[in-house]
C-alpha cells in the first residue's frame, strides 16, 4: 500500500510524486531511447507510426474527450498538416518552420470549421466534420496543380541543420521528441485553468456560463488546439509515408482516431496514448493472425473493420471508461492491496435531470 501525504498544494500537483512512478517512467524512457538501436528497422518504423498516431489521437482527445465535441473528420487536419509540410519544404522552408506552419495552418482550418460548428452539437457536429473531411479529400484530389491530385506528390526528406532526419532512427527520435513535448504541454494545460474550462463546457454549459466561462470561445479554442496538434501529426505522417495521396486521409483514418479516443477512455491523455497503441497495432496484429485463420474468414472483405467494430462494442459493454479506466483499476488494486474492493469504482445512483436547459 501507499498513501499520498501532501504537505503543500504544490506537492499534490507534482507530476511524478511516487518513487515507483519515477522509476517506471525512467525505465520507459530508457527502453524508448534504446529501441531503435536494438530493434529491426521494420519495428522502428512501426513504433514511429505509433508515436505519430498517438499524437493525432491526443489532438482528437482534446476536442472529443475534454470538450465533448465529436469529430468524425479529423483525418482532414492530418491531410492539411501533411500537404502543408510537403509544400513548404518544397518551397525551401527549414524543418522547424515548416512543422510549426503546418500545425498553425491546420489550427487555422480548425478555427474556420470550429466557428460555424460550435452552433451545432452532438450528431449534427459529427455530420459537419464528416462533410468537411469528405470535401477536403475531394478538393485535394482535384487541385492537382498544387497537390499532385490523385497521382500524389513526393515528400522531401526532413533535414535539421544540415543533418538528415530521414533515417529510421533520426525520424524515430524526432517523432518521439515532439510527442513527448506535446504530451507534457497538454498534461499541464488539461489539469489547469484551460482543461477545467474544457471539462466544464463538456459537462454543463449552463453552469459554465454561470461561472463566467465564454462557452463558444472555449469550444473554438478546443477546436483550434485539437486541429493544430493533429496537423503536426499530419506533417510527421507525411515524412513517414514519404508520398502523399488523398486517399491516405479517408474515412477509415478518421474512424480509427475516434476509436482510439473512445477505447482509450474519453477525457484522459493516457487514454489517448493507450487507445492509439491498441488501434495502431490492431491492423498488423490482424494481418499476422491471418495465416492461422481458416481461409473463409481470413479472405473475408472488411475483416479489419469487423474487428475494429467488435473491439469497440466490447469496450462500450464491458469497460465504458476505456483502457484508462482499466489502468486506474489495476493501479488502485496494487496501491490499496489488500484492501481493494470491487465497489470502489461503482458509479453512484444517477439522478434524473428532467428540466435541463442550456
Amino acid at each position: 500500500m501507499r498513501f499520498a501525504y501532501d504537505t503543500s498544494y504544490r506537492e499534490s500537483r507534482r507530476l511524478l510524486r511516487f518513487a515507483s512512478d519515477r522509476a517506471a517512467y525512467a525505465l520507459l524512457a530508457v527502453l524508448l531511447a534504446a529501441a531503435p538501436f536494438v530493434l529491426p528497422v521494420f519495428y522502428v518504423g512501426e513504433l514511429t507510426y505509433l508515436f505519430i498516431f498517438a499524437l493525432a489521437s491526443l489532438g482528437l482527445m482534446v476536442l472529443t474527450g475534454y470538450t465533448g465535441q465529436v469529430s468524425l473528420g479529423h483525418a482532414a487536419f492530418l491531410a492539411i498538416g501533411a500537404y502543408a509540410e510537403a509544400l513548404l519544404l518544397n518551397a525551401g522552408w527549414p524543418l522547424p518552420a515548416s512543422l510549426a506552419a503546418a500545425a498553425a495552418l491546420s489550427g487555422a482550418a480548425g478555427l474556420a470549421i470550429g466557428m460555424p460548428a460550435i452552433r451545432v452539437s452532438g450528431l449534427y457536429l459529427a455530420m459537419v466534420t464528416l462533410a468537411f473531411a469528405i470535401l477536403l479529400e475531394h478538393a485535394v484530389g482535384h487541385w492537382s496543380s498544387l497537390t499532385g491530385g490523385f497521382t500524389g506528390m513526393a515528400v522531401p526528406e526532413p533535414r535539421l541543420a544540415g543533418v538528415s532526419l530521414g533515417t529510421p532512427t533520426g525520424f524515430y527520435f524526432l517523432c518521439l521528441a515532439l510527442l513527448a513535448a506535446v504530451l507534457l504541454a497538454l498534461v499541464n494545460l488539461m489539469r489547469g485553468h484551460l482543461g477545467r474550462a474544457f471539462v466544464g463546457v463538456r459537462d454543463s454549459e449552463a453552469a459554465a456560463w454561470g461561472l463566467g466561462i465564454r462557452v463558444p470561445l472555449v469550444k473554438v479554442q478546443a477546436f483550434v488546439l485539437s486541429a493544430a496538434i493533429t496537423g503536426l501529426a499530419g506533417a510527421l505522417l507525411a515524412h513517414q509515408t514519404k508520398y502523399l495521396t488523398p486517399d491516405g486521409f479517408g474515412m477509415m483514418l478518421s474512424m480509427q482516431l475516434v476509436l482510439a479516443v473512445v477505447i482509450g477512455g474519453l477525457g484522459s491523455l493516457r487514454g489517448a496514448i493507450l487507445g492509439a497503441i491498441l488501434i495502431g497495432l490492431l491492423p498488423s496484429f490482424i494481418s499476422h493472425l491471418k495465416p492461422f485463420l481458416p481461409d473463409r474468414i481470413a479472405k473475408q472483405f472488411g475483416l479489419e473493420i469487423f474487428v475494429f467494430g467488435a473491439v469497440l462494442v466490447g469496450f462500450v459493454l464491458f469497460e465504458p471508461l476505456g483502457l484508462n479506466g482499466r489502468w486506474q483499476k489495476l493501479r488502485a488494486f496494487f496501491e490499496t492491496f489488500p484492501l481493494y474492493r470491487r465497489d470502489t469504482f461503482r458509479r453512484g445512483k444517477a439522478y434524473m435531470r428532467s428540466e435541463r436547459y442550456k
Binding site: Y9, R10, R13, A185, N188, L189, G192, H193, L194, R196, A197, V199, G200, R202, D203, S204, A206, A207, A208, W209, G210, L211, G212, I213, R214, V215, G267, R346, R347, G348, K349, A350, Y351, M352, R353, S354, E355, R356, Y357
Partner: protein, 252 residues
Amino acid sequence: MSFLEVRDLALAFGGVRALDGVGFSVERGQVFAIIGPNGAGKTTVLNVVTRVFAPASGQVLLEGVDLVRMPRHAIAGAGVARTFQNIELFEGATVLDNLLLGRHRFDHGGLLSQMVQGRRARACEDASRERVEALIDFLDLAPHRNQRVAGLPYGVRKIVELGRALATEPRLLLLDEPASGLNPEETRDLAFWIDDIRHDLGVTVVMIEHDMSLVSEVADRVLAMNLGRALAEGTPAEVQSHPDVVAAYLGG
C-alpha cells in the same frame, strides 16, 4: 437605492407568460426568499438575473448597474453566483476541480505560463487552491475532495454546488431550492451555512425555497409569487398568513 432592484420583468415562452411584471428589491446583507407554487416563475426570475434569458422588458439593477444589458458570461464577474434547481455539476470532474472551476473568472497566468507550469501560473493556481480549500473546510467537503462528482450522494452534490458558487466570491448568491431533497439533518446544516454566508462572508442571498420552516428561520423578507407576478412581500410570518398567498397555494 437598494442593493438589488428587480423591476417589472416580463418574459413569455410561446403563449405562457412566465414573468408578468414581477419586481422586488433586496437590501445588502439580507436573506431574501421567494416562494410560490410550481410554475409561478421563480426559477425564471433567477434565469433572467443570470442572463440565461433576456426579458422582454424590465431591469435588474445590482448596485445601480443593469445586469440585463450584460453578456451572459459577464454575470459572474459582476459578482453574481447561483445554484440550480436540478443540480448542474461537472459530473466527470472531481469535487476539487468543480470548486476550482468556480475560480475561472480570476487570473490564472497566461496560456504559455500554464503550458510550462511557469511561476505565474503556479502562483495563481496556489492562490485558487487556497481559497477553495478554505471552502472545503467551511462546507465539510474534505472527505470527498478527490472524488468524482458523478458518484456522490445527492445531499453532498447540493453542497458541492453551493461551494462552487461561493468559490466565485459573489456579492449576490442565488439559490434555487437549496433544501429540496435534503434530509432534516442536512437542512439544519444548510440553515447554519446560509447564516454564516450572510454574516461571515457578507454575501447577500436570494433563495427560492418551499420549506417554510427553513424560510422562517433564515429569511429576513419573503416574496410570494404566482403566475409571474408578486402576490405579497413582507416578513415570513406576514407573507405566510396573507390571504392571497393562502389562496394561491390552496387554489393550485
